[in-house]
C-alpha cells in the first residue's frame, strides 16, 4: 500500500474541510472533541445505510451475512491496529464513556471491595472520574489521585508512595484532553503491576496521536472512541485481557450476549459477544474499520515531522502573546494547546475566533477538577489533527491576535 506523505492528498479525503463557516474557510481546531471523517468512512456508512444492511449474527440471509462480515472484519482490524492477542479481547461499545462505565461496573463488582483503592490522576476527563466515583459509592472503595505539577506532568515521584497494597485498580488517560502530554503510561503500568493493581488506560486521545500496542504496554484495559479517530459517532472500543474479561460478569443483558436462556436464568455467550448485548451499532462499527484503514494509510514519519513543525510554530507564536498562560508543557506534547490570556474570558475569545472561521473549544472541557487545580473556570483549547496545515496554524495565530486586540 502506498502511504500518504502529502498534506493535500490527506485533506482531499475530508469533505468537511472544504466548507466555509461565517464566510471564511473553516479552520477546524476542535479535533480533540470530535474529528472529521474521510471518504472511506463516509462511503461505507452510505453503502450500508443504503442496503448492505441486515441485522448481524443471527439470520441466514445475504444482507445479514454481509453486515456480519463487515462488522467482524472491523473487529479484526481493531485487533491488529492495537496488537491485541485475539479478537475476543475486542469489545464494541458506543464510546469511551460506555467502555469505562462497563469496566467500572463489571470489573469492580467482582474484584473491588470495601476498603480497596482506585487510583486516578488529577487530570482525568469526567468520563474517567465520575464512573469511578459511582463505583466507589457502590462498593465502598475509595479514590486516590496522582497529582500533576504546574507544567501538567504526572508527579511520578509520588507514585511509589501512592501505590500501596490497597490500590487494586489504576485508571488514567494516555493523553489528557486538556494538557496534551503523552503520559508515561508504560512506567505507570509496570509500577502498578508490581504493586498488584490492574490498569485501565483511557486512550480517547492516545489512540489518535500515538501508536498503541497493548501487548507492549501490557495494560489490562485500553478504551477509546471511534468519533475522535476519524470514525463514526456512537462507536467505541474496550480492549481487555482475555483472562480478565472471562472472569468478569457482563454489565448489560440482552440479545446476542447469551448462551442459553430460560425464564429463570441465563448463561453467557463466549467473548466478545458476552459484552455486546442487543443490536450493536453494526454499521458504525464496520465503518470504524475504514477509519483505521485511513489512519494506517498515512506515512508515520511524515505525520510526525509535520506535527512537530506545527507544534513548534504554535508554541513559539503563542508564547509571544502578552499575558498568556499555557497548560501542559513538555517534550512529549501532541498538537493540542490549552491556554488563558490575562483579562480575557475563554468564551469571548472562542466566539470571536468562530467569527473568523476558526473552531476551537473553550470552557472546562469536561475536566472541572483540573480547572480548579489551576484556579480557573475555563481555558481555550486548539487541538489539531493529521489533516491540519501550517497555513491554518498561521491563521489561528493571527485570529487570536485580532481577538485579543478586540477584547483588550
Amino acid at each position: 500500500m502506498e502511504l500518504y506523505n502529502n498534506i493535500e492528498k490527506i485533506r482531499e479525503q475530508f469533505p468537511a474541510l472544504t466548507q466555509r463557516v461565517n464566510n471564511r474557510e473553516l479552520v477546524y481546531f476542535d479535533n480533540g472533541a470530535t474529528a472529521q471523517k474521510p471518504v472511506g468512512v463516509i462511503n461505507l456508512l452510505n453503502e450500508m445505510n443504503s442496503g448492505v444492511n441486515g441485522n448481524i449474527h443471527r439470520a441466514v440471509h445475504e444482507l445479514s451475512a454481509r453486515s456480519t462480515i463487515l462488522y467482524e472484519g472491523a473487529r479484526d482490524a481493531v485487533k491488529l491496529f492495537i496488537n491485541a492477542g485475539d479478537r475476543g479481547e475486542i469489545i464494541f461499545t458506543s464510546g469511551t464513556t460506555a467502555s469505562i462505565n462497563l469496566v467500572a461496573n463489571s470489573y469492580t463488582s467482582t474484584f473491588i471491595n470495601k476498603g480497596d483503592i482506585i487510583l486516578l490522576t488529577e487530570a482525568e476527563h469526567h468520563s474517567n472520574l465520575v464512573p469511578w466515583q459511582m463505583a466507589c459509592s457502590r462498593s465502598g472503595a475509595e479514590l486516590r489521585f496522582l497529582p500533576v505539577d504546574e507544567q501538567g506532568n504526572w508527579r511520578m515521584d509520588l507514585l511509589d508512595e501512592l501505590l500501596d497494597k490497597r490500590v487494586k485498580l489504576v485508571s488514567a488517560a494516555h493523553i489528557s484532553n486538556v494538557l496534551g502530554i503523552i503520559n508515561p503510561v508504560k512506567q505507570l503500568i509496570d509500577k502498578a503491576h508490581s504493586a498488584g493493581a490492574k490498569v485501565l488506560i483511557d486512550g480517547a486521545q492516545g489512540i489518535v496521536h500515538t501508536e498503541v500496542d497493548v501487548k507492549e504496554l501490557d495494560c489490562d484495559f485500553y478504551v477509546f472512541s471511534g468519533h475522535k479517530l476519524y470514525g463514526p459517532t456512537g462507536t467505541g472500543i474496550l480492549y481487555g485481557k482475555r483472562n480478565l474479561l472471562e472472569e468478569m460478569v457482563p454489565w448489560m443483558g440482552g440479545g446476542d450476549m447469551v448462551g442459553s436462556v430460560s425464564l429463570e436464568k441465563f448463561s453467557f455467550a463466549e467473548l466478545p459477544l458476552k459484552f455486546e448485548a442487543g443490536t450493536p451499532n453494526f454499521i458504525g462499527a464496520a465503518a470504524l474499520g475504514e477509519a483505521i484503514k485511513f489512519v494506517k494509510s498515512i506515512d508515520k514519519g511524515f505525520a510526525e515531522k509535520h506535527e512537530k513543525e506545527i507544534i513548534s510554530f504554535i508554541t513559539r507564536e503563542l508564547s509571544k502573546i502578552d499575558g498568556i498562560r499555557m497548560y501542559g508543557l513538555g517534550e512529549n506534547k501532541i498538537s493540542l494547546f490549552s491556554f488563558n490570556i490575562e483579562g480575557i474570558h475563554p468564551s469571548d475569545l472562542a466566539i470571536l475566533l468562530n467569527k473568523m472561521g476558526v473552531a476551537v473549544r473553550s470552557g472546562m472541557m469536561c475536566c472541572e477538577p483540573l480547572m480548579s487545580r489551576y484556579g480557573v473556570t475555563g481555558m481555550v483549547r486548539a487541538s489539531l489533527a493529521v489533516y491540519n496545515t501550517m497555513k491554518e496554524a498561521e491563521i489561528f495565530i493571527e485570529s487570536i491576535k485580532r481577538g485579543v486586540r478586540m477584547l483588550s
Partner: protein
Amino acid sequence: MTIKEVEQQIVEEFSIFTDWLDKYEYIIELGKSLPIINEKGKDEKNLIKGCQSRVWLAADYVDGKIYFTADSDAIITKGIISLLVRVFSGRTPQEIIDADLLFIKEIGLEENLSPTRANGLLSMIRQIKFYAVAFAANKNS
C-alpha cells in the same frame, strides 16, 4: 416606549454595522461599560451557570413592574445581557410574557442563543420569563 419599540431602536442602532467585526466591537463596548448589577447581587442565588460563562440575574418587583440587573464574567455575554436588560427592565410581567425577542435574530446575534452556547444566555432569558410568570401569578393570587 413599548418593548417592541425599544427592540426596533436597537435594531436601528445595529443597522449601521456592515460587518460582524463592528457589531462585536460594539457589543464588547457595551460589555465593558459600568456593571449592571451591584456586588451583592452577584451571589449564588442569582447565579445562572453555563458550561462556559456565568451569568447573574437579579429581579425587583416594584409597583407592578420588574426591574432587572444582571452581569456576566464574559464580556460578550455581558454586552448582550445589557441589551436584554434594556429591553426587559421596568416592564410589567405581562409585557415580558408576551415578548418574542426576534430582535436578537434581526441584529444577527442569534448564534449566541443557540442551545450549544453554554453561556447561560438562554437560561437567563428563561429565567426572565419565569420571573414574569411568577410575579404575574403572585399579583393575581
